[in-house]
């Protein structure tokens, strides 16, 4: 849309609404709790709202219902043992979390993984992005009243899960990476099946997006709703599609390439107004770009080793070697009992995950266990802007805003 729109600041809108009402209509404010079990709060988020009629005058997100103490747990186990816990951060894109965590530890150990391993990781991370955005889009559309989009989206996600299962042995909690590699190489013919998936996925994606992009109801519910200005998005630390929806072209895959992202061509879509509709458009385009990356990875899929062969004290060798060679057996025993040996130091690595930038800050005193591990979760930061943008909105707009922020509580609460 080329037309310039100006949207009033939501706080000013609320103040204006309160003043505009004649004295006889000004009533007592009502407090309303939305969640922690509410279909549109996507998990266990609770919104403590204060309402003037149907207009929000205050919203306070209450988080922590899913707090499991992952950071405490990480301080008490070896680096490899923590991989399954990363699955359960953003449980809609476990492969991307696995990769971010593994690269963080590898940076600390100054370990380079071979090209084939990097390509596998990029491929799985982009597939995870597709499945995460599919779910996010389906749930968003469902929240604003488009039931069929969710069904289409889940069908596509299911196809991706079949591929994940073939690769990792699990549909959902994949635990696929290890420090210094991945659990196993790609199966025979799997890349071809991923390619075939992409072929049939693109037309279906267009079909799904066509259901929403010029849909009158969808546009009424999202255009101009939940506007996040560029300055607000930055000061609140928003990342991922939510930041790009507000017009900031920050994508770490481009700006700070990791795992070989610099070898692939793709565009970074940005929004212009930062409303719910822009965030939806950004996610839609990101899926097309992900397919583009997947195709490039498959086209130039490198051969060679799929794990770091020179990391004897970090990566346990494949099972067939362990069972047939004494040296490898000892190596495996040491890694399992003591954990991968990581030098002392501190490192902060962040990856561009589907929900935003997932960061791991690791402080090591040497040995197989981190001294401190901090998870910078994108959903946590993305949710912190709700008190700012939802003031002055209708309750029904809050549903659109929550859907468009696409958060996941497993990651927010850690």
């Amino acid at each position: 849309m080329a037309t310039e729109f100006t949207y009033p600041d939501s706080a000013a809108k609320a103040a204006g609404a309160a003043q505009a009402a004649p004295a006889e209509f000004q009533t007592e404010k009502m407090s309303l709790s939305m969640g922690p079990s509410h279909p549109s709060t996507h998990g266990v988020l609770r919104l403590q709202m204060e309402l003037d009629g149907e207009i929000l005058t205050k919203a306070d997100p209450v988080v922590g219902y899913l707090h499991r103490g992952d950071e405490k747990i990480a301080e008490n186990m070896t680096y490899n043992q923590f991989v399954p816990y990363t699955d359960r951060l953003d449980y809609l894109a476990p492969l991307a979390n696995n990769m971010a965590y593994a690269i963080a530890v590898e940076r600390l150990a100054k370990l380079e993984v071979p090209e084939r391993c990097q390509a596998i990781r990029v491929l799985t991370a982009e597939m995870a992005r597709l499945s995460s955005h599919m779910m996010g889009l389906g749930a968003f559309a469902l929240d604003v009243g488009a039931w069929s989009v969710l069904l289409y989206a889940l069908e596509e996600r299911e196809k991706l899960y079949k591929l994940f299962e073939e690769l990792t042995g699990a549909r959902f909690t994949t635990s696929y990476t290890r420090i210094g590699g991945v659990t196993r190489d790609v199966p025979e013919g799997w890349l071809g099946r991923v390619n075939a998936f992409c072929d049939q996925f693109l037309p279906i994606l267009e079909e799904i997006l066509n259901l929403l992009t010029r849909n009158k109801i969808f546009m009424d519910r999202t255009v101009g709703v939940g506007v996040i200005s560029k300055a607000d998005a930055l000061t609140y630390g928003l990342t991922g599609p939510n930041l790009r929806g507000s017009g900031v072209a920050l994508d770490l895959r481009k700006d700070k390439p990791y795992s070989g992202y610099q070898n692939y061509e793709f565009d970074v879509p940005v929004g212009t107004k930062g409303d719910c509709y822009d965030r939806y458009l950004v996610r839609g385009e990101e899926m097309r770009q992900s397919v583009r990356i997947i195709r490039q990875v498959i086209a130039k899929f490198p051969g060679g080793a799929w794990y770091a062969t020179d990391a004897k004290r970090i990566f346990a060798p494949p099972k067939d070697k362990i069972l047939s060679s004494m040296e490898e057996l000892i190596q495996n025993f040491m890694i399992v009992t003591e954990g991968p040996q990581i030098p002392p130091g501190e490192v902060y690595f962040e990856a561009e995950n589907p929900k935003g930038i997932l960061g791991f800050y690791i402080v090591s005193k040497g040995g197989g266990v981190p001294y401190r591990l901090k998870i910078r979760s994108p959903s946590f930061c993305n949710l912190s802007i709700i008190p700012k943008i939802s003031v002055g909105c209708l309750i029904s707009d809050v549903v659109s805003i929550l859907g468009s922020l696409d958060f996941v509580m497993g990651e927010c609460d850690r």
């Binding site: 186990m77 607000d232 800050y361 802007i385």
Partner: protein
């Protein structure tokens, strides 16, 4: 590019010293200069995103016990990153640190989390409440002396606690998780074993039947 920022920063604030880091540039900053250094980095060097802030607990009796770490990222100068660390003031029980909410609004939740997990009081924070644990929870779980299994506390909802007699009990951890110890290799020390913190030689095994008893 990061080197330029470091030189400029050190020219402006001579008190700033390098901090060992495995990847990005990192600096140690005296507490009094923290807010000014962060403001300078944000305004003069375009570090417009505060990615994260967190604390490290260097164990009981360490001095300083808590170190605050700020991660800054620039959106305009692709890939610029800076880590700023500062020691906390105050006692071991009540450490303090200046708040940076006035620089980045997003610091609000991060500081609340830090207060919740470590008990660090942020001076000048507008609304310092717990965020992940419930209001009224008596401990700060990420401090090193807090056991992995947790500590028995009362249920946050008083009327349900009274009705059912239920409590928040320590996790029964017999058999797991298997853990090794951080630090240098020492096979006898680092052998995997069940870290059984809920009951051990020092703390007697709690009476499970009594804990699980719920009034019919």
């Amino acid at each position: 590019m990061s080197v330029e920022v470091l030189t400029a920063l050190k020219a402006k604030f001579p008190q700033v010293s390098d901090r060992p880091s495995a990847d990005h540039p990192a600096v140690d900053v005296p507490r009094a200069d923290l807010v000014e250094v962060l403001r300078y980095l944000r305004d003069e060097h375009a570090f417009d995103l505060l990615m994260d802030l967190t604390a490290i607990d260097w164990a009981q009796c360490a001095s300083p016990r808590f170190t605050m770490v700020y991660h800054l990222l620039s959106t305009t100068r692709a890939g610029s990153y800076m880590r700023v660390a500062v020691a906390c003031a105050g006692s071991e029980i009540e450490p303090t640190s200046p708040s940076v909410v006035h620089l980045w609004a997003g610091a609000n939740w991060h500081e609340r989390e830090c207060f919740d997990m470590f008990g660090i009081k942020f001076e000048g924070h507008p609304d310092l409440r717990r965020i992940l644990m419930w209001d009224g929870y008596p401990y700060h779980p990420l401090r090193k002396e807090f056991p992995l299994a947790g500590i028995e506390t009362v249920l946050p909802v008083a009327d349900i606690a009274e009705e059912t007699g239920a409590k928040v009990i320590a996790a029964p951890m017999a058999g797991g998780p298997f853990v090794a110890i951080s630090g240098e290799i020492n096979l006898t020390e680092a052998e995997p074993r069940a870290k059984d913190e809920s009951w051990s030689d020092r703390a007697a095994r709690p009476d499970q039947t009594a804990l699980r008893q719920v009034k019919e």
